[in-house]
């Protein structure tokens, strides 16, 4: 009944609605573009500043683009500070940490998901509880432990712990994933005489690849960004990671007579580039990782 009444009016209703929709759409695009411009501006400014000459940085009003792009600023960073060394240190620390995290968490998650052992449920509950614990609490005892081992001013404290299970979050994510894989896969391989290790490596790991990639991305970003760890453990400049080195550069910027802001900006750009590249290469895993960490809660 109601529909027959509505029919004569519907066309005009639809027309006005579609006009409103179109206006909404234009409004949304304007807003999105405006916001995108505002959000992008800081990096736009940093990149263009990294290509200016020393004098141009201090011009007022500041020019939007450098007159001539000074690509030479980038190699100069490597001459001025130990940027290359810091970069390599970061790559080593983060690669070892990522590798250790992914490998050891896989093995541990396999144990939680597929083997019955005494104390498993209790240990798993404790593992989950550790996610609530702020890292600040264990910071000092860990420092004292590494001091005992003579590891202060080395990069070992920054990656060795990752090889011990990789932490609650990785273990939890991987365990949940392995539990969704049918046990029939394992059993079929077992009948064929495969050992438990071969089942893990040849049956399960190939299926786990997307989750492993996701975890690797999360750990990589976290490691690259980490500041407090290097600040606590590293003392001499040749051992610094990028994060610590960049701060060191900023704190000692512009030694007498040398304005180095443009070089500092070049260093800042270079310190972020690996993350941005990783984002574009592994965008799918990135987004998955974020959403997964959201589901965890």
């Amino acid at each position: 009944m109601t529909s027959t009444v509505a029919v004569p009016r519907s066309s005009s209703v639809f027309r006005s609605m579609s006009r409103r929709r179109r206006l909404n759409k234009i409004g949304s695009y304007v807003l999105l573009t405006l916001l995108a411009a505002v959000f992008s501006f800081p990096w736009f400014w940093t990149v263009t500043s990294s290509l200016r000459s020393a004098d141009e940085v201090y011009l007022f009003p500041p020019p939007l683009f450098p007159r001539v792009a000074q690509w030479g600023n980038y190699p100069r960073v490597f001459e001025l500070v130990l940027f290359g060394k810091w970069f390599i240190n970061s790559v080593i620390v983060v690669s070892l940490a990522t590798l250790g995290n992914v490998i050891s968490a896989t093995v541990v998650a396999y144990s939680f998901a597929r083997f019955r052992w005494r104390g498993r449920e209790a240990i798993f509950a404790i593992t989950l509880a550790t996610m609530m614990l702020p890292a600040e609490v264990t910071l000092i005892p860990q420092y004292l432990l590494f001091k005992q081992l003579g590891w202060i001013n080395s990069i070992r404290p920054l990656w060795v712990p990752a090889w011990f299970g990789g932490g609650a979050f990785s273990i939890f994510l991987l365990r949940q994933f392995v539990m969704t894989l049918p046990r029939e896969f394992d059993e079929a391989a077992e009948i064929d005489g495969a050992s438990t290790l071969r089942i893990l490596l040849q049956v399960l790991v190939p299926l786990m690849k997307p989750v492993l990639a996701t975890i690797a991305v999360i750990v990589f970003i976290g490691g690259w960004d980490d500041f407090m760890g290097p600040l606590i453990y590293l003392q001499s400049a040749e051992n610094f990671t990028i994060a610590l080195g960049l701060r060191y550069f900023a704190a000692n910027e512009g030694q007498p007579g040398i304005p180095t802001t443009h070089l500092l900006m070049a260093a800042t750009v270079m310190s972020t580039t690996p993350i941005v590249v990783l984002f574009f290469v592994a965008q799918r895993y990135f987004v998955q990782g974020i959403v997964m960490s959201g589901i965890k809660g």
Binding site: V107, I140, P141, G165, A243, L246, T268
Partner: protein, 319 residues
């Protein structure tokens, strides 16, 4: 027949290990031992890097310990010191709360609005999403340097733009009044389009279209649709983002440490900087541990309060 005899006789000659672990069969024992073997890295890690340090930290928080000489037990003196003697304890805590109270509501609202804008199915959404997300990828140290430059009182572009509209910009990071807002601006820039927005987007995509269609049939406007359909349906996502947002904001460290070293005159001296300073500049490890436990207690209590409050407003479809 043979199999059943084996089953009956097996318990009688259980090996020592099988009896020790309380199992009946060899196979169960084998599975258990393999389980331990695979879990070994984490069993060790949990002990060495988590549970051990937790106990040590609890103990040290009750001592005076300067790393050089042995720890001296002194009861709850460190906690008393924090609450009643340390002049920067309450101010740093208050400052951190103030920071969280601005950054979490504003940041969460902003992320939700961006997600709503992106969730309209417009073409080109991916490009915008990436542009909003990129600031979040900036490492904290780079972020501090970049914003120190943008907000430079003399040559910074922000004050230049302000001067165009006749406003004399403040000293930002170097001004006691404006240092905290400067840290807020930098972290909001990175936070609006970051993980939070992505999680909101995933949440929004999970809202069934039927609910919107039903709301349309009922003649609901944009606001009603949002208030009565979208918001209840994404309330678990919102809740998660609030929990993580509060914890993240309370931990603010690298950004402020690099941009201002906690200054000028304590203006950005946050709790984590306070903790770091006592622990690793003055090497008062006992006091540092006490500060860490107070922080842990605050985080746990705030999270529990939020869980308690969530019963009133978070809607779970499954229930």
């Amino acid at each position: 027949m043979a199999a059943s005899t084996a089953l009956i006789t097996a318990p009688r000659n259980r090996s020592f290990l099988t009896r020790l672990l309380g199992y009946h069969t060899q196979a169960e024992t084998r599975e258990c031992l393999l389980g331990y073997a695979y879990a070994a890295p984490w069993l060790l890690g949990l002990l060495i890097f988590v549970l051990g340090p937790v106990l040590v930290s609890l103990y040290l928080s009750l001592t005076k310990y300067d790393v050089i000489s042995n720890p001296v037990f002194q009861g709850i003196a460190n906690y008393k010191r924090a609450f009643f003697e340390d002049e920067q304890f309450w101010p740093s805590l208050g400052r951190t709360f103030k920071f969280a109270l601005i950054v979490v509501p504003v940041g969460t609202t902003g992320s939700l609005l961006l997600a709503l804008l992106l969730n309209q199915g417009l073409s080109g959404t991916n490009v915008y999403r990436t542009l909003f997300f990129l600031p979040h990828l900036t490492p904290a140290v780079a972020m501090a340097i970049l914003w120190t430059f943008l907000l430079h009182p003399v040559v910074g572009p922000v004050n230049y733009v302000l001067s165009l509209v006749g406003i004399k910009g403040p000293g930002w990071f170097s001004d006691t009044q404006w240092a905290l807002p400067s840290v807020v601006i930098a972290s909001l820039w990175a936070g609006f389009g970051g993980n939070r927005m992505m999680i909101f987007l995933a949440g929004l995509q999970g809202v069934p279209q039927e609910l919107y269609d039903a709301a349309d049939v009922d003649g609901a406007g944009v606001w009603h649709r949002f208030w009565h359909v979208t918001l209840p349906m994404i309330s678990p996502t919102l809740f998660f983002n609030l929990i993580m947002g509060v914890i993240g904001a309370l931990k603010v460290f690298a950004l402020a440490y690099v941009a201002t070293s906690g200054g000028p005159s304590w203006a950005t001296w946050f709790y984590a900087i306070h903790l770091y300073n006592w622990s690793f500049n003055y090497f008062e490890m006992g006091y540092g541990c006490a500060l860490a436990w107070i922080f842990a207690a605050i985080v746990v209590v705030l999270t529990l309060i939020q869980f308690r409050l969530s019963r009133r407003w978070v809607y779970y479809t499954g229930e």
